[in-house]
Amino acid sequence: MGVRTIEVPLNRVEGDLEIRVAVADGRVVDAWSAGTMFRGFERMLVGRAPMDGLVITPRICGMCSTGHLYTAARALDDLTGVAVPPDAVRVRNLALMAENLQSDIRHAFLLFAADFANAAYERQPLYAEAVRRYAPLAGSAAAAALRESRKLLEIIAILGGQWPHSSFMVPGGVASVVGPIEYLQCRHVLTRFRNYYESDVLGCSLERIASLRCAGDLDAWLDEEPAHRDSELGFYVRFARATGLDGIGRGHGELISYGSLDIPEGSAVSAPDRGRQLVPAGIVGDGGALPFDQREISEHIAHSWLVGYEGGMHPSTGVTEPYATGAEGDRYSWCKAPRYAGRAAEVGPLAEALVAGHPLVTDLVARHGGPNVFVRHLARLLRAATLLPAMDTWLSELGKDAGGLVVHDVKLRDGEGVGLGEAARGALGHWLRVEAGRISRYQVITPTAWNGSPRDAADVRGPWEQALCGTEVGDLDNPVAVGHVVRSFDPCLVCTVHALDAGNGKSKGRLRI
């Protein structure tokens, strides 16, 4: 059996994640996801003033900085017990939703679909069309994604001053000074994006897509109008089926949503479960649907280059103490292994859709006996059908509430706070403790920590480690399917993938796929 090392180019600083894949008889038999860079944001915050998290944590990431600001602010809301005014909830929500949607289309058409133009598919009848749509910087969909994602981000700049790394969300609301003129500007931006999404991505209205409830409906929709087949969604369905994306990348089959996007009192927006959040919280998996309790979260470090403790610790009590000498044996990552009730679980749009009981997504997962690359990415493309109408409504509701945009003179105090939300890639949480007016503990669990987690104390693989197992690697020189599996999770970091021989464990070099 040959040994190859594969690089999978993705966003974020190059080289801070490696995936090693053992291949035997043309299939992945094992995988290891290694975070190769220690960043230490949590440690930076210790000893600082509580509000410093609003400036520092958005800089954890340049693609989901609003997600971090949102959860950092919610942790401070929780610490202080302040009730955020309804319009401030709307402004926060709009900013987070704009960031999530622009990330979705950048990921979809600049990262994920770029693999469809891989030479591995030259004999695929749909290859020429894939190149026309997704060739980097030349494809029609790629160019549109660049233009439209950039424009949508103007909503965050209008409401919050800048993107990325804005700090306008504060405990008790937002520090924005915005009014009818700014809301109108946002309306222009949102209208433009919705028009793009409906015409280019969906080929139909958001309402039409939301009416699809099962695989049969999807098939009928595909053949209903040329615009449907020719849309990005229509092409994706056709290409995915032709290339078997619905047969790879299952993972453990456990999924979590923390819940996100509080619905303000009196809003016309309603949640799918009639709850108080547009994106409900919950767990789905082989054990069925369960309510979510953040107290069940733990972080393992058995295979991490961190000072040891046995088993897992809740983020409110855990620490992040790096320790590596190069002789740690089977420790292989700077990342911790988040677990829920001891189980590895994936997060992201698929988790959100299943927890919310999205009928089409639920049906497709059931038909295939669990998640797969096709439905995981499909859920991402369908997310806009949930978010855009709510954005439209909340934008219309702004300025009609007398509560203002912020509660003044919020008193920070000693104690603990938890901020949870759904960033672009899924569940994001900040756990904060303040003692003597200073941050004494700060833990962050990102969605990619969940999805790209290493093994835990029981040697259970992380979600995409597990999802890679069984993936067929037809051409060791160009294992494009490995890229599909990892990218279906939308990792927020550059990933270098090494393929190892299952027998001798040696690596020959690097391949770019």
Partner: protein, 161 residues
């Protein structure tokens, strides 16, 4: 004046906290001391990467200032288009850099892409080097834009804009 109405923009990019990548920010700091002509705008591009499309859109001419590698140190240089667009910048990731942005300008802007040039120097950002690069940036910014229709193809060619 905001960037949207400035037809000439000097965008200084780099990381002021990293020696060897701080030339752009140093040039920005130098130029920020002085008034610029009307309809010019000086922008601290930092590490914004693709987000600089917003700072480029609507301009007629853009000059990028950046630290260089692979050239003799301490000389202010106008980078050839071929070199500026070189490498394999097709992929959208953090390693794509300025070359990706330059290519993305052709497809990612609402307005016709601007004429552009890249200036910089290699080596430490010593005061004399910073001033020389700043002077070159101003010279580039003052170049007239050709009155023929700018097309995406021309902006990706080696023809000086």
């Amino acid at each position: 004046m905001n960037s949207a109405s400035a037809s000439v923009r000097i965008i200084c990019i780099g990381n002021r906290l990293v020696a060897g990548d701080d030339l752009g920010p140093c040039v920005y700091d130098w130029l920020a001391r002085y008034p610029l002509p009307e309809h010019w705008r000086l922008i601290d591009g930092g590490l914004q990467g693709l987000n600089l499309l917003g700072s480029v859109d609507g301009a007629r001419r853009v000059v990028f200032v950046d630290a260089l590698t692979g050239v003799a140190p301490s000389r202010a240089i106008r980078v050839s288009r071929k070199r500026a667009l070189g490498g394999d910048p097709r992929h959208f990731d953090h390693g794509a850099g300025l070359s990706y942005l330059l290519r993305a300008m052709a497809v990612g802007c609402d307005e016709p892409p601007p004429a552009w040039s890249v200036v910089g120097a290699a080596g430490p950002a010593a005061a004399a080097v910073v001033q020389a690069v700043a002077a070159l940036a101003l010279s580039e910014a003052a170049r007239p834009v050709r009155r023929c229709r700018r097309t995406a193809a021309r902006n990706l060619s080696n023809t000086p804009g």
